[in-house]
Structure formats: C-alpha cells, structure tokens
C-alpha cells in the first residue's frame, strides 16, 4: 500500500506535443482515484507515465517513499488492467492469472495455488481451466483483475475499466469494482471519459483538459462547485446551464431577461456592471407555471422524458435557452409559458471561465502550470517537501 506523488510531471512527445504540463498531484494511500477528461486530454498518458510505459520528460513519480521515475514498469510494484483486458489467448485463465508470478520466478505449485485462490475470490473458481475466449466480457474483466491482484501490488492502474462492457454489465461491474477496491484497500487510479463513472466510483477525481489538471476533489465537490466553466460543462449527466449575465447594482444579476439574486458564494465578490457567466444545474432549478419572484421566464420548446422526471428546455426572453429538470408533478407542454427559480445556494458565478468564490472554499482547484507547485492541488505534505529539480 502506498500513496502516489507526482511532482511537476511533464511529458513531451517527440515532435513537440506536450501531453502533460508539469502536473502536481497526490493520490492518497488506499484511495480510489479517477482521472477524468475528454479524449486527448492526457489522462491515459498520465496513467501510462505512472505505470512507466511512457517515460516522463520532466518531474518525478513517487510510489510510497520510492522515486520510481527512472524504474522499469516491472520494478514499480504496480499492476495495470487494460481496456481490452489483454488476456493471453493461448493460456488458460489460471495460467493468465499466474503469469506475473511466473515472470517473478515463483515456484510452479505455489503460483498455481495463488492463482486458484485469487480466482476463487473473484468467483472464477470453476472457470480456471478455460481459455479467455470462452469467457464472457465480465468474466474476462475479472480474470484480468485477478491477474493484477495475484502478485499483490502496491498500486492498481485501470485504463477505462468499464468501456468494454455492455450497459447493464457496466453498472454491475461498477459496484463490484468499488466494493473490491474497498476490501483490498490498494491505492487505485483509473482513467475514464465518462463523468458518471468517475462520480460513482471514485473517492476523489481529477478533471483534466489539454494536459492540465482543471480540478481535483471529491465527486461532491466537483459536482457542486466546478472550478471552471469547462469542468461545469463536463460534469453532470445533464449539462449545467451557463448563461451570460451582468451584475446589477443591489446584489442581483441580470440573466436571460430575468433579475436573479446573486449566488450566495459570490455575493460579496462582485461589482456592479461586471460581465459574468451564471451557472446553475438543471436539477437545481425549481419549475413554476405561474410568474415567480427571482426567476427566468420563457417558452417551453422541448420536453424530454427522463423517467422519473423530465428535462424541459425553456426558450428564454433573452434569446438563450435554459434546461430545467421538472418533477412528475408538473406537465409542461411545448408552447407553454414557464418560470424557473434557481436554488440560490447551488447557483455559481464564473468570471473569465473561473469560479467566483471566496478563496479556500474551492479547496482543490488549479488554474494552470504558471503557479508552480504547492498551489493547493496535492493536499499531502509531500507537495512542498522537496525542492523541484528542473
């Protein structure tokens, strides 16, 4: 068991493409940590650099107290599960699970016993004699997990662990993975492009964009208080409403033709006349069929059924549209007039793309590499423990 500390970690590919920009990050011991971001944001590169499959161009990687930056992948005491599981088709499940032990020259009887025990733990007991081709997708994943577990590594790395499963299996595997990780207590980093997956599984997550960490925090923090408009629009199954607005004199903000009270968090930090972006999740807007105080008004243009609720798109008077999650109690029809009242403690203001909030409340944000180390990303003491060689 060990924590992972990245110190000014950089990766530049030959040809000058910067995949990682001097990242500082601490993954705590025993944590289930997600790297989340759109494709091409560098999350996989980061995972592969931790694994040692890519060499870092600058900075260091520590696993526990050990500086592993210059070590080969095999010497780092880690195990990785790939998106395609990478089970060897010519070996049985048992041989696959025992393979890392075989490379480490563990005796035949001992490794067979260990492989069988690990297989039992993951419910693969009756399948050990089969070949990977005779397993279902979920079983293949568990075989790959068993192979990773068998040699008791200090860190697990999962590359898109769920994306090869069908939708139903994915939910099952999500719960299974989270439970397994909790039971084993092994520090685990996984990569995903699916924000729902990251929110559901991770203890903490990092949102990445173009090789930089945009926000690091617990799923609740990242969901409730996205540090930037990028994170705000990336997190959440229904995208957050981000509407241009202007702060008007007495603690109010003018948005989409309506006058709304300033969000609690930003109340004392804005000046009259400032251009801002008003952010509110569709779930935090209350629907009203009659005119209401502090609401945006508009005409219903689309109603999407979400099952237990409906997602209503409101064409506002200012020419912008706002999405509202409406409970079953109301049944708006396209063409109806409607009013949406924001929950003031959940509304956010963004200035130049960054959250307007008192410092310290957004405990884990980064805005760029220019600020250097110790700017609050990693929260461990390791962050400022040693001078950065450069």
């Amino acid at each position: 068991m060990a924590d992972i500390t990245l110190n000014r970690l950089a990766k530049v590919y030959p040809g000058g493409v910067r995949a990682l920009h001097d990242l500082d990050l601490t993954v705590r011991d025993g944590e289930f940590f997600a790297l989340l971001g759109p494709s091409g944001c560098g999350k996989s590169t980061l995972l592969r650099t931790i694994a040692g499959l890519e060499a870092a161009s600058g900075g260091t990687v520590h696993i526990g107290d050990r500086d592993v930056t210059a070590l080969q992948p095999g010497e780092r005491d880690i195990a990785m599960v790939f998106q395609d599981y990478a089970l060897f088709p010519h070996m049985t499940v048992e041989e696959n699970i025992a393979y890392p032990l075989k490379v480490k020259k563990v005796g035949r009887a001992e490794r067979a016993a260990k492989a069988r025990r690990t297989a039992e733990e993951l419910g693969l007991g009756p399948l050990v004699e089969r070949r990977p081709g005779q397993l279902s997708g979920g079983q293949q994943q568990r075989a790959a997990l068993a192979r990773a577990m068998a040699c008791r590594p200090r860190v697990f790395l999962f590359d898109e662990p769920l994306s090869n499963l069908d939708a139903r299996m994915r939910l099952e595997a999500r719960t299974f993975l989270k439970k397994l990780q909790r039971e084993l207590g092994v520090t685990t980093v996984f990569v995903t492009h699916d924000q729902a997956e990251a929110l559901a599984m991770a203890d903490r997550l990092a949102v990445m964009e173009s090789g930089e960490l945009r926000q690091v925090g617990t799923p609740t923090e990242v969901f409730r208080r996205p540090a930037s408009t990028f994170v705000a629009s990336f997190i959440g199954s229904t995208p957050m409403n981000l509407v241009d607005g202007e702060v008007t004199a007495p603690g109010a903000v003018r948005v989409a033709g309506g006058e709304l009270p300033l969000p609690d968090a930003a109340a004392s930090l804005t000046e009259a006349g400032e251009k801002v972006v008003y952010g509110i999740r569709p779930e935090y807007l209350r629907w009203s069929d009659v005119p209401a105080e502090g609401a945006v008004a508009g005409t219903v243009s689309v109603v999407e059924n979400l099952g237990s609720a409906q997602l209503v798109t409101l064409e506002c008077d200012g020419g912008v549209s706002v999405q509202v999650v409406v409970s079953e109690d109301h049944e708006p029809e396209p063409g109806n007039r409607g009013w949406a009242v924001p929950r003031n403690d959940r509304a956010l203001l963004y200035r130049d793309g960054d959250l307007v909030a008192e410092h310290g409340t957004t405990d884990a944000t980064v805005s760029g590499p220019a600020e250097g180390p110790g700017n609050g990303v990693g929260d461990g003491p390791a962050d400022d423990a040693e001078p950065v060689p450069s």
Binding site: S39, A51, G52, L53, Q72, P73, G74, E75, I78, A79, M80, F82, Q83, D84, Y85, A86, L87, F88, P89, H90, Y99, P100, V103, K104, R130, R131, P132, G133, Q134, L135, G137, Q140, R147, C151, E160, S163, N164, D166, H193
Partner: protein, 347 residues
C-alpha cells in the same frame, strides 16, 4: 453488432490449402442458405471459371503429367532415344535412389534450405521486423528500400553483382576486408550461396513478420512488461504464440522456394567440384548437361515428392494450431467486437 460478424471473422489468409477442414465447414454452413449468391446459375459460373482452369491445366497439370511420363522413359536430348524413347518403368527412379550424386545433392539442398531460409531469412527477417516495430523515419525507410531492392532485382543482375562482390581479384568484399586474393567462391562455396540467399530473400520474411507483429496488441506486450518480463520473455510468452501461424506459413513458403531455387547456379554453376550442386542444379546438369532427359524428369519427380512431404509437415503443424487455437481465435473475435463497441462509445 450482428452485421460485423463476418468482418470480425479472421480473414482466410494465404492459399486455400491452408484452410482447415473445420473452417471450411463453418463457412459452408454460413453460405448454405444462399448457395448461388451471384445468381449466375451453374453453367454460366462454370464458364467464368473455365479460362483460368484451362490455363492451370495447360501450364501446370499437363507439364507435371508429362514429367511423370518422361521419367518413365529413356528419353534423351540426342541419339536414337531422342527420336524413339523407350518405356523403362521404374528404372530411372531406382537408378536415382542408388546414385551417390543424387543423395549428395539432396544433402546440399537441405543444408542450403536450412541455412539460408529456415535459419537465415526467417531469423534475419524477424529481427528486422522486430527492430522496425517502433521505428519510423529515414533510417527505417532506407533499410526497407535496401532490403526490398535485394528482393525485386532480377536474378541475373543480382548474380552478376555477387560475382563482382566476391571476386578473387579486386572484388568488393576483398577490398573491404583487405584480404586480396581470398577466393570465397572456391574456398567457401556453400557459405557464399547461403549468405547470398539470406541477403536475397529476407525481405519477404521481414514484410510478413512486420504484418504479423502489427497484430500483436500493444496491451499484451505491456502487460508482460508490467509483470517484469524482459525482451526475450515477451517474445516467448506473448509474440511467438500469437504469430505461430504466420511463422509456419512463412517457413513453408520460403522452404519450398529455396528448395527449388536455381539462382545459385548463376553464381557458382554448381561448383567447385559439385560443392553447391543443389537438386535443381543437379537436375539441370543431368537433363540438359548430359542430355538424359528421362533420368532428369525422374529426379524432378522425386523432388516433387520431397516438396510434398515438406508441405504436408508444415500444414500438419498449422492444422494442429488451428485445432487447439479455435478458442483463442474466438476470443480474438469477441475482443475485437468489444473494442469496436468501446471505440464507438468513446466517440
């Protein structure tokens, strides 16, 4: 997903002879509902095939049967038997099997095939393919062009180049090694043609292995690396099991090609003193040099049998692989499907 079943099925590479009966059966089963897919009708379909079949019959089957017939006669290039060959039955075959010259040629041929094809071309080709795997840029392109050039140049040109290269007086090799007067073709004739043939034919193995290595998923190699496997372990545990079929197919092809290769004759003319007289050269010298066409044809027939034996051995090995490897193949298909769907979602 159902639509991708056929595209995900591993494509039947290589000649039809390599397809196992099982695979053929599967395909048949799949095509049964629409036996006449093109809607031509049996007669018109046969008409389309006829020209090709005719050419095959004319230029492959007929000469083979003709050789068989000639081998049973005392046909000669000159003299009375040239006009009126007599039927001699198995005499030519028994004569060949009792002839030291034949056995010597066969031994030389096997040395030539093992040294230059099985060990040389396959080994060097694989080494080049493995080396090029992660490399791009000018060095790789240059090397590829050079290797390919050796393969596509006409034999006569190549033979002349090698004679000039190995020449005793002022040959390029002697200049390079500063060994004037070393007679490579006289002192080391077999070694010379083995090295020549490695140089000449490695391109094919290189290309075949390059394609094969492209099919080894990076994640498999990386899994082995993460477990701590070194380069040789990765080759043994991940790469070779994966490309076993490609290796066998390659060995089959280059063995047969090298077995029947006549180009060494252009360099050494079978000499000195028969030291490089491989079977094709032996047949040429017997049939056209000494004019014993019937006897030469009989040896040709023996050579055909040897080729068949070699081919059957390789095909047996391939068949074994397919029997034990069906599970693996299925998994590959399944995984490819899975990967496809994963990519779709990512996009």
């Amino acid at each position: 997903m159902a639509a991708t079943t056929s595209s995900a099925d591993p494509s039947p590479a290589g000649p039809q002879g390599q397809e196992t009966a099982e695979k053929g059966k599967r395909r048949q089963a799949r095509e049964e509902p629409e036996r006449d897919a093109a809607g031509l009708g049996r007669r018109r379909a046969a008409a389309f095939l006829a020209p090709a079949l005719l050419l095959v019959a004319l230029f492959l089957v007929l000469p083979a049967v003709w050789t068989l017939y000639l081998g049973a006669t005392d046909y000669r290039l000159t003299g009375i038997p040239a006009i009126d060959p007599a039927f001699v039955g198995f005499d030519n075959l028994t004569k060949a099997l009792g002839d030291d010259g034949f056995w010597r040629s066969l031994r030389l041929t096997l040395v030539f095939v093992l040294g230059s094809a099985v060990i040389g071309q396959a080994g060097l080709g694989f080494a080049l393919a493995w080396w090029m795997r992660e490399r791009t840029g000018r060095l790789r392109t240059t090397l590829e062009v050079l290797v390919m050039l050796a393969w596509i140049l006409p034999s006569s040109v190549v033979a002349f180049l090698w004679i000039a290269f190995l020449d005793r007086d002022g040959g390029t090799l002697n200049e390079l090694l500063r060994t004037p007067g070393a007679a490579w073709l006289l002192d080391h004739p077999m070694l010379s043609i083995v090295v020549y043939n490695i140089w000449r034919g490695s391109a094919f193995s290189m290309m075949l292995y390059s394609a094969a290595l492209g099919n080894v998923p990076a994640s498999h190699l990386e899994t082995a690396r993460l477990a701590g496997a070194g380069g040789l372990q990765q080759l043994r545990d991940v790469v070779f099991p994966r490309i076993r079929g490609h290796i066998l197919t390659n060995l089959l092809l280059i063995s047969l090609w090298t077995f029947n290769d006549f180009t060494p004759f252009l360099i050494t003319a079978g000499g000195p003193d028969g030291a490089t007289e491989t079977l094709p050269v032996h047949i040429y010298k017997t049939a056209l040099g000494s004019g014993e066409l019937g006897y030469g044809a009989a040896i040709s027939f023996l050579m055909l049998l040897i080729n068949l034996v070699v081919a059957v051995i390789y095909l047996r090995l391939l068949g074994q692989r397919n029997k034990s490897g069906t599970a693996g193949k299925k998994s590959r298909t399944a995984r490819r499907k899975a990967r496809g769907s994963g990519q779709k979602e990512a996009a």
